[in-house]
Structures are given as C-alpha cells and as structure tokens.
C-alpha cells in the first residue's frame, strides 16, 4: 500500500531502527523521562549543559516508530543549541521535523520528546511547563 510507505517514510524508519544519540550520559546535568499514559511508551533524555548551551544530549526509551524517531530527530536538533533557543522549539517544529501527517491519535507519540524537553530542560531553567 503506497499510503503506508508515505506514512512510514524511509528516514522515519531509519531513525527508529538506527536512533541517533541513543543511550545515557553519565555526567548529565539534567535527566528527565516522560510516559504516554495511553500506551505506556517512554522517552527519557539526558542533557549536559555548558554556559547555557546543550553540549551533549542522549535519549533512551521504548515505544513506537513515531515516538522514537521523533526523539532521535529532536536530539539532532538540540545538540549545540542554546537552551534559550531550545525553549522556542514548538509543536509545529517537531511535526515539521517528522515531515509526515500525524493523526490526532498519534499526536501524543510524536510530541512525547517535546514534553521531555519542556518539563526536563525548561524546568531546570526555572520556567513553567506551559503545555496544555
């Protein structure tokens, strides 16, 4: 079915099967995990910070291709980014990175990594979690 190929595009599957920046950081400054209560999927991230810059980031977790590829793409975006700029990452940015149409039922999968970033990293910066 052509539709499926379009949904599970090659690079999504690639990020799922060969996740970038996967694992744990021993000397993390911030670590945070979030669960999707609907399905039990989990994404966690470790951040190492230096002068307001995300010097290194790793993610771990278990879940569907969408949630894990989204986390993998997110770490690529975050590495070397100023925390201030990371704060600006929006829902739309994450969906843009994924580049596929996400049905409402799968939105929580796609945005799980953003939630980790918001609650984890923003929390450290003393910001309120303003999600929903």
């Amino acid at each position: 079915m052509a539709l499926d190929d379009q949904f599970y595009r090659e690079y999504i599957l690639d990020h799922y099967k060969n996740p970038r920046n996967f694992g744990r950081l021993q000397d993390a400054d911030v670590s945070h995990e979030e669960y999707n209560p609907l399905c039990g999927d989990m994404v966690g991230m470790d951040f190492r910070l230096q002068d307001g810059v995300i010097e290194d980031v790793r993610f771990h977790g278990r879940g569907c291709a969408i949630s894990q590829a989204s986390a993998s793409l997110m770490t690529e975006r975050l590495k070397g980014m100023r925390l201030e700029d990371a704060r600006q990452i929006s829902k739309e940015d994450v969906l843009d990175d994924l580049g596929i149409e996400i049905s409402p039922a799968r939105l929580k999968c796609a945005l799980l990594s953003l939630k980790v970033l918001k609650v984890g990293a923003y929390g450290l910066a003393g910001e309120e979690d303003d999600e929903e």
């Binding site: 079915m1 499926d4 599970y8 609907l38 999927d41 989990m42 879940g63 291709a65 999968c109």
Partner: protein
C-alpha cells in the same frame, strides 16, 4: 432475527454470520472490525429501540403520571427483568443499573468496601485485572490501611491456583477477579475460585465485562456475591452498565450516590432511603441506554451464547494457526479452548501502535497499547501488545485481511 440460525450459509459453528452482519449498519463502512473486546458494534434493533423511545415516548421514569412516562418506566423495568433472566439472579432487586462496569465496581468499593473493609484486611486480586478492577481497591486499601495481594499467572496466562490458595489461607475480606481476561482471553475457573474464596470466608466480586457475552453467567449457580458487566461490550450502547449484588449484601450497604429517585422520604436533617434497587440509582438514569441494553440482550439470547462461543472459538483457532507462521510474532495467552475470542500478540521490531496504524490503513481495526492492564504488561515484560478480538459478526475473511496488513507491516519495517 428469527431466521438467523438455521440458514444453509451457516459457518461450522451454526451461526449465519452473513445474516447477522446485515443487522449491523457499521459494516457498511467496509472496516474489518477486530476490536469487540474494546467495544462491540450495535445491531439495528438496538438503535431502533432507542430511537423509538426518543421519538415516541421520551419521558422521565418513576416521576410522572402521564402515559409516556409510564411507558418509559415499563420499558426501563423490562430491561431489568431481562438482565435478571440473562444472568439468572434471584430477583430484579439484585440488578442495579450503573453507567458502566467501572462504576459498578466503584459502587461496591465505596459502599460495601467502606462499610466492611478494615485496617490490615486483605483484598485479593490478580495481575491480569483491568485497571477498573485494581484502582478502586487501591483507593479503598489506601484509605483503610488494608492490604492488597495479587495472584500471579503462569507462562500460559492462567492463574496460579497454588498462589490463590495460599492467599486464601490468610482469610481475605474480598476476592475480586475477571471472569475472562481482557488481554489474554483467559477464562478463569470462576466457579472454583468463588467456592474456594467463600470457604475461606471472603466476599467475591467477578468482573464479567469480557465474560457475560461470550461464556455467560449463572450468578446463582456460581454463587458470587457481586458481578458486573457493561452495555457497550454486549451489543448495547455506551453509558449503561450492570451491577448484580446478592440481596442481603445490597440491603445492608449504604447508598453510593445520593439524590433523586433513591429516597423514600427526605427531611431537612435526614433521609429515608428507597428500597432495592432504587437505593443505588440516584438521579435520572440513562433511560434510552437501558432500553437499548434490553434489546441487545434479546439479540444475544436469540442467537444463543453457545453458538457465539463456538463461532469465536473457530475464529480464534483460525487466527492462532495463521499467526503461528509469521516470523518474529509472539502470541500470549492459553490455548484457544481455554480462552475467549481474543488474540494478543507482538511482532519483533514493530511497535503495536505502528502495527495498528498500518492495519488501520488497510481498514482493519485492532487494539494496540496496554489494554488498560499495565500490571499485566509489566508481568509479561512488554510495553504494549496488539490485540485482535472477535464476536458473533466476525469472519475468517476479516482475519485474512488482518494477515495481509501484518505482512505489509513486516515489509515496511523489514
């Protein structure tokens, strides 16, 4: 309906599935619906009964003297009689309508539980319960300082009876378990469990959400103290559930919710409550839904639970055999004979959500996730499972479509 059973087009189980499907408008969508353990489809007869109420005698019950209200009351009470018969309760006074089985279990936990469970009392559950048969007891136990213990399962997904009996030796106050597991399909030995629990002095609640429409129940024969099921899984509408309680227990229990319809007399400083079952039915109930449930029960009885069970067994065996050949696919649960029409599985390298999304694109609906049984997922050491479940209207052709979708998922994720 009356023409259904003896048609020459019947399957091996004797069900004329083609004629049955004609009764379910949903199948005009062309979707292969394999998620009836989640919610069932509703036959036209149920929809028509509800529409008939809304169109021709829409009125509140028990409150007015005009004709349509009496008619509504009569239809509402008729369903209670049908439910009594369906589960063979002694009296209609033992049948309480709730909004679903979750509310039925909560009613017992709040009303019976708060009156009868004390500090250090033991409540025995199993690891394969739905969250609705875990969380209410956790809340109660936390409030009362009572203890919870869970009976484990063996590798086949059957309850560890040795453990069950060990826990009974501690004289639990309550034993609560599913008649049929929503995830593994395991049909528990509910008769034996009830008898043993009673011998140990415990009160027994059976969660019949996945049982009443597949294996049926005779509450007098089984002897359980409480039994619950939900309308939307038995061809009825959402918004209505049933609690059966042994009369002596229900009579001794305080009300759960207070309000209209559950009173005899109200004074400014106190209230005398109505008798059974009204004591537990505060406020305007889901009248149309109760009427729809009555028609759903008619439908199930008309087709016959034995024939439905045989048909589901045939589909389950067919599915298990077909899935056995798929590389990297693991199935969970006991052999088909010991389970209802449920097949839970996972496929190496493909998350159940991704499976369900790809299947959805093939117009095949299955459940993917933790099935509201997170403790069981932990016990099986999986984050989530895919689950196909069957009912009287499903066909082998739909299962073939499941297989096509599964092979496509494997191709995409290869």
């Amino acid at each position: 309906m009356s023409t259904l059973r003896s048609s020459p087009a019947a399957s091996g189980s004797g069900l004329d599935v083609r004629a049955i499907r004609e009764d379910f408008p949903f199948f005009e969508t062309g979707i292969a619906y394999l998620d009836s353990a989640n919610t069932s489809q509703r036959p036209r007869q149920v929809l028509e009964a509800m529409e008939d109420y809304f169109t021709h005698y829409n009125s509140n019950i028990h409150r007015a003297v005009y004709r349509t209200s009496m008619q509504a009351t009569e239809h509402y009470d008729t369903t209670r009689r049908k439910v009594r018969e369906f589960i063979n309760a002694r009296s209609v006074k033992e049948i309480v309508f709730t909004k679903n089985i979750t509310e039925a279990i909560n009613l017992v936990a709040y009303s019976w539980g708060r009156q009868n469970v004390r500090e250090d009392d033991l409540i025995v559950l199993t690891v394969m319960e739905h969250h609705s048969n875990i969380v209410p007891w956790q809340i109660l136990a936390h409030e009362k300082g009572a203890r919870l213990a869970y009976v484990d399962i063996d590798d086949q997904g059957e309850l560890r009876l040795d453990q069950f009996h060990e826990l009974l030796a501690q004289e639990p106050r309550l034993v609560a378990f599913a008649q049929v597991s929503n995830t593994l399909g395991t049909i528990t030995p509910y008769r034996e469990l009830t008898a043993a629990a009673h011998a140990a002095g415990a009160v027994v609640l059976i969660d019949g959400a996945q049982g009443v429409q597949h294996v049926g129940i005779d509450v007098q024969d089984v002897g359980c103290d409480f039994y619950g099921f939900t309308g939307h899984k038995v061809l009825g509408p959402t918004g209505v559930g049933v609690l059966y309680g042994r009369r002596e227990l229900l009579e001794a229990m305080p009300p759960f919710l207070g309000g209209g319809d559950m009173i005899r007399t109200v004074f400014l400083d106190h209230t005398e409550y109505a008798g059974l079952p009204e004591k537990f039915e505060a406020g305007t109930p889901p009248i149309a839904e109760v009427i729809g449930l009555g028609t759903a029960i008619d439908y199930l009885r008309d087709v016959g639970l034995d024939a439905i069970r045989a048909h589901e067994l045939e589909l389950t065996e067919y599915t298990v055999e077909a899935l056995t050949d798929i590389d990297g696919l693991r199935m969970f649960g006991p052999p088909p004979l010991k389970r209802s029409g449920v097949v839970s599985f996972d496929v190496e390298g493909i998350h159940p959500h991704d499976l369900a999304t790809i299947l959805d694109r093939h117009d095949v609906s299955i459940r993917a996730g933790h099935n509201c049984a997170m403790p069981l997922m932990n016990r099986l050491d999986v984050a989530a499972l895919a689950r196909a479940s069957f009912f009287l209207y499903n066909t082998k052709e739909e299962i073939d479509r499941l297989l096509v979708g599964l092979h496509d998922a494997k191709r995409i994720f290869a």
